[in-house]
Amino acid sequence: MKVYIERPKTEKNLEFEGTVKELLVLLDINPETVIVANNNELITEEDVLKNTDEIRIMSVISGG
């Protein structure tokens, strides 16, 4: 699975199958602070991910 994190800009290749919530736990990201898209479609923490998915994790926090 390819994971793009917007802030700080990071790209990861992971072997992962599970829910978005489990992925965020693995990456130590609080779900309150991000929205997640799979192939540019918004998904929720309950959605199940496949190893072939391309996931984008975007911070919701204002720039300051």
Partner: protein, 276 residues
């Protein structure tokens, strides 16, 4: 997982709604706040090019309010230029007038130049930015403060013990442009979701001066509580808004600029003198 209102896939869990129903819910919530304000005439919208101010500019315009966008270029290298470019394009596409004022032109120095001598950039930046918005806004100023911003501010005031800074109602004060915050009950996550679904060209960069600020620590704390106990941020804001504290002291007017202050000289004039 499906939407609470139809069989479409949910895009958010709190509340559990699909794209169509989330957009309707979000716009309805903001519209309700705007309606409470009895707006007449043009509104100036404080814009940064970020998701919050872009959203409120778009929605006020959508709801038929006459708007003008006002942006402040503090002069933070590698940060503000990109967001102002996005904002210029957005305003031009929307057909809304945009005015940009800079620290350099108004105060003689960029924030980067001020930072070379002073460390507390958030304090200087915030005071000077508010001063420019008050100076150049006409009639009424709308800002994009969301529930996260407002609950953090309330919590910071509690931590500092400055009771005169508790939310103080809607009293009109001479020489102070009235402000409205129509997104104040929308979480940052809701605003970001709306902004993403609407495909707004927002800038994701973070201010380089924000690191290790007290606000950042309080933000992380509130987010960690919110995830365990949803509704915490709203509870904090609503509780603070219901506190009716008698303010200490009378409002005075700065002897240099005549803006309202609790001292002889306002914060902005003190800073302008300091950075000369």
């Amino acid at each position: 997982m499906n939407c609470n209102k139809c069989d479409e896939r949910a895009v958010l869990l709190k509340p559990r709604l699909c794209k169509k129903h989330f957009i309707a819910y979000f716009e309805g919530k903001v519209f309700e706040e705007i309606e409470k304000e009895n707006i007449s005439g043009e509104i100036t919208v404080a814009c940064s090019g970020g998701k919050d101010s872009t959203t409120i500019l778009f929605l006020l315009h959508k709801f038929g309010v006459k708007v003008k966008a006002l942006a402040v270029n503090e002069g933070i290298k590698g940060y503000r230029d990109a967001s102002l470019e996005s904002l210029k394009k957005f305003c031009s596409d929307l057909g809304v007038e945009l005015e940009v004022f800079s620290f350099k032109n108004e105060f003689g120095k960029t924030l980067d130049e001020i930072m070379r001598v002073k460390n507390h950039s958030c304090k200087y930046c915030g005071v000077l930015r508010r001063n420019l918005l008050n100076k150049h806004a006409t009639n009424l100023l709308a800002t994009g403060h969301n529930l996260d911003d407002e609950s953090q501010a309330a919590f910071m005031n509690l931590v500092s013990g400055r009771k005169e800074l508790f939310p103080g109602g809607k009293k009109e004060i001479k020489n102070l442009v009235r402000r409205i915050k129509p997104l104040k009950y929308c979480t940052e996550k809701e605003v970001m979701t709306y902004s993403f679904l609407k495909n707004f060209p927002v800038d994701f960069n973070e201010c380089p001066n924000l690191k290790n600020s007290q606000r950042e620590k309080i933000r992380d704390l509130l987010n960690s509580i919110e995830v365990e106990k949803p509704g915490t941020k709203e509870n904090i804001l609503r509780r603070f808004e219901s506190i009716n504290i008698k303010k200490d002291g009378k409002i005075k007017f700065c002897r240099i600029c005549n803006n309202p202050t609790r001292r002889e000289v306002c914060n902005a004039c003190n800073i302008i003198e300091e950075i000369k």
